[in-house]
């Protein structure tokens, strides 16, 4: 019992340090490397870290694989470019060629952050928009009901799963 509490508080401290480091980098970027306002920076980073630990406690955060995250981001940027291109074409076409529908999509990813990332990413990919998470299904609005939603979703789910796969 005490051991478990110890390891959980140790992981909270590790996680707090990591997040404070990320917020410090953001500050440096926003301040363009100018350190003259450092007391404000310390207060801001402390507040951001506290809010982050409160909203997403260390123990609810599954381990993240750096390689998986990188591969996800590269793939996601390409997909979101394709999504923007497709919807821009649909908007500018003389004839409106929309055949939208709402489709129930069963989810294989575990609840929590993986599902959240899946839903958020789906909204920026070609032709799909997450509407409602309910139980183990996500209601998805598609611009073309003929599009292979199940295949697209399975590919995205694989990429998201790779982000949260334990590397050790």
């Amino acid at each position: 019992m005490t051991r478990r509490r110890q390891t959980s508080s140790a992981s909270t401290i590790r996680s707090a340090l990591r997040r404070a480091g990320i917020f410090a980098l953001f500050w440096l970027m926003a301040a363009e490397g100018n350190l003259s306002a450092w007391p404000l920076a310390v207060a801001g980073i402390a507040a951001a870290t506290a809010a982050s630990l409160w909203l997403l406690p260390a123990k609810t955060l599954p381990p993240i694989s750096a390689g998986g995250l990188f591969r996800f981001l590269v793939w996601f940027v390409r997909q979101s470019l394709a999504g923007g291109w497709q919807v821009a074409r649909l908007a500018l076409q003389p004839r409106l060629a929309l055949r939208p529908a709402c489709i129930e999509l069963p989810l294989s990813l575990p609840p929590g952050l993986p599902r959240l990332l899946f839903t958020a990413a789906l909204g920026l990919m070609p032709g799909t928009l997450g509407v409602r998470l309910q139980g183990d299904t996500l209601l998805v609005h598609v611009l073309d009901r003929e599009q292979p939603l199940a295949d697209d979703a399975a590919r995205l789910a694989d990429r998201v799963a790779a982000v949260f796969e334990e590397t050790r």
Binding site: A91, P100, G123, H141, L143
Partner: protein, 105 residues
């Protein structure tokens, strides 16, 4: 010279995507399809505009700051898009469909 040219090109392409997103917002028939247009086209437009501006930045720090805006706006737009769609579904807004005649295969 070349960076300036590339920057101008990226800014024009970005403006074109913002334009397409706005046309979609005006032309598309219901809240769900309009969310598609806004979230996706504007993100692409913002990415191009920011990349174009970063090429003209005076220092690396300013360029990085400009590029950092893109992922933050992406996160916000994904979260807001989902929230608006969910609220619309809760309020019972039915998705638009083509007319019955067109739907017959």
């Amino acid at each position: 010279m070349l960076p300036d040219l590339l920057s101008a090109l990226l800014l024009l392409v970005g403006a074109a995507f913002f334009f397409a997103g706005t046309v979609g917002l005006l032309r598309f028939p219901d809240i769900y399809t309009r969310l598609h247009a806004l979230a996706k086209a504007d993100n692409l437009g913002l990415g191009c505009v920011l990349a174009g501006l970063a090429l003209q930045a005076d220092s690396l720090a300013v360029a990085l700051k400009l590029l950092a805006i893109w992922p933050l706006a992406l996160i916000a737009s994904a979260a807001v898009g989902y929230s608006i769609a969910r609220r619309a579904a809760r309020l019972g807004v039915a998705p638009w469909q083509e007319t019955q005649k067109e739907r017959q295969p």
